[in-house]
């Protein structure tokens, strides 16, 4: 009987050695040429980064690894020095972030726009109206509205729009549905509940693509100047985080602003529609 125990122990030791050597071999070679980025779900869910990541590797030899979370969470990861660079979309928060010394070298890269989507029949009758009018109608008539409620860039934009419309955030109202989830999930919830919601255009195009042209929701309000959605790259401040790879972050930032990649961003299409519009300054 003890023989069996010995055999099992030996087998387990061999297995752990095998697993650990695998880890070391996998980790050692690439250790210094990896750029860790925190970004928002919209750049990942649309598939943009799946295109850009391999291009960055081919051009610079640096491997881009990213975690896709809400903008609030991404900024927090930068604050804790867990990533080297950020690709986010919440300009007001970003400026404060840089002023507070957490990030440096904020560079605007591209934009798309936010849109209000809602049931095709538009029960609130706000199609083509301004953002202000639409929000006032939702509040006055208690029209179901789905909010991200997760401190993401989209959520921050929505809060800003309520404020700009001179309305309190309808935090505890029964018609205000705070999902606490990502953009596509929130759109799905809006569809199930016949609610309106605010989304970035890219994610909505992806959503339409999933429904193969027959989505239950449609674009209701768009084109308002207040709805511009600016994406920027920010390097994590190397003075605060001594392990942050500032040189690689700078390389990435310059690469994103280069003519070649700006064109690649413009050429990135889903269902034949352009999702992001490059606007990096030379």
């Amino acid at each position: 009987m003890e023989g069996i125990v010995k055999k099992i122990t030996l087998f387990l030791i061999a297995l752990s050695l095998f697993l650990f050597t695998g880890l070391l071999a996998g980790g050692a070679g690439a250790a210094d040429q990896v750029l860790m980025m925190a970004t928002t779900t919209s750049t990942d869910n649309t598939g943009l980064l799946n295109d850009l990541g391999p291009m960055f590797k081919a051009d610079t030899g640096v491997e881009l690894k990213w975690v896709a979370v809400g903008t609030g969470n991404a900024l927090e990861l930068g604050k804790n020095c867990d990533v080297d660079v950020l690709l986010v979309h919440a300009p007001a928060t970003e400026l404060k972030y840089v002023a507070d010394g957490y990030g440096v070298d904020r560079r605007e890269i591209m934009f798309n726009d936010f849109i209000f989507v809602g049931p095709k029949g538009d029960p609130a009758g706000v199609r083509g109206k301004s953002v202000k009018e639409a929000l006032k109608t939702f509040a006055a008539r208690k029209i179901p509205f789905a909010s991200r409620g997760d401190n993401s860039g989209t959520h921050k934009m929505e809060l800003q729009l309520w404020k700009a419309a001179g309305l309190p955030v309808p935090d505890k109202e029964t018609w205000y549905i705070q999902t606490g989830q990502g953009m596509i999930n929130t759109i799905n919830i809006a569809a199930e509940r016949d609610a309106y919601t605010l989304t970035d255009r890219g994610t909505f195009i992806k959503y339409e693509a999933n429904w193969k042209g027959e989505p239950p929701l449609a674009i209701i309000v768009e084109g308002d100047a207040a709805l511009k959605n600016q994406y920027s790259v920010i390097a994590v401040n190397p003075a605060r985080c001594n392990k942050a790879k500032y040189d690689l972050a700078t390389k990435f930032s310059e690469w994103m602003a280069s003519a070649k990649i700006q064109k690649a961003i413009a050429d990135f299409k889903l269902m034949g529609k352009q999702l992001f519009f490059p606007n990096a300054k030379k």
């Binding site: 752990s16 880890l23 779900t41 990942d44 690894k65 975690v67 020095c81 990502g182 799905n188 959503y207």
Partner: protein, 229 residues
């Protein structure tokens, strides 16, 4: 709403076409859960044995604590471990965040109570005369411990399988500590979460079926082991 049908079809395609992304998620899942299971067995079996075999003051309370930890939510473990291994945390120098060993470490904390609790129950449930018999046969302390665990081996195996099931299926820790990084820390469960986030429900279901197939294989191996004994 044909997610289920197309999901099932897609699962077959993923399994048999050797899709590299799926394959990478499968190996990452196996690597992470095997590491965490090995670590939790190495710590949990001796721990469970001590808790089940010996009488000591405070034993009941300790048992209650271990049993309570069975209900540990994965995101809480994730947050807790994140606080320690973030670069700004006390173990930040080890650079464990967004790595496979980091996820395995957190999963070990998650499944350790399962191994300890089930092993302790198994050892407690053994015939009390076993100990006396072993002593009269002149066994030393180490031999008694080994023989007791051998008697309880099926129950310990069940503990291992249960722990494996918990580790392989959890998503909160893998997402928070691993970061769902493509080709590196993307496990099957975080891939399902990503596909759901993208609205690709059929793909999510397909990956779910892949995970279940994997669990079935692990269990099949264990059943064969049991038959042989």
């Amino acid at each position: 709403m044909d997610y289920l049908g197309s999901g099932f079809l897609r699962a077959l395609v993923l399994l048999f076409s050797g899709d590299p992304e799926t394959f990478s998620a499968v190996t990452t899942t196996l690597e992470v859960s095997s590491l965490s299971i090995l670590a939790s067995l190495a710590l949990g079996i001796p721990g469970g044995f001590i808790l089940g075999y010996f009488e000591f003051p405070g034993k009941k309370h300790l048992r209650a604590v271990v049993d309570t930890l069975l209900a540990l939510p994965t995101v809480v473990v994730g947050l807790f471990v994140y606080a320690f291994i973030s670069r700004r945390g006390p173990f930040g120098e080890m650079a464990l965040l967004f790595t496979i060993p980091g996820v395995a470490l957190a999963q070990t904390i998650l499944v350790l109570p399962i191994v300890v609790s089930l092993t302790a129950t198994a050892v407690e449930g053994l015939d009390r005369r076993l100990r006396l018999t072993l002593i009269t046969l002149g066994a030393n302390a180490r031999q008694i411990a080994l023989q007791t665990l051998l008697e309880a081996r099926f129950a310990v195996l069940t503990a291992a399988v249960t722990a494996y099931g918990r580790a392989i299926s959890e998503v909160g820790i893998s997402m928070m500590i691993g970061g769902n990084i493509k080709w590196h820390t993307r496990t099957i469960t975080t891939a399902v979460a990503l596909e759901t986030g993208k609205g690709e429900f059929a793909m999510g279901i397909a990956l779910g079926i892949v995970l279940l197939t994997l669990a079935l294989l692990v269990n099949a191996v264990l059943v064969t082991l049991r038959r042989k004994q």
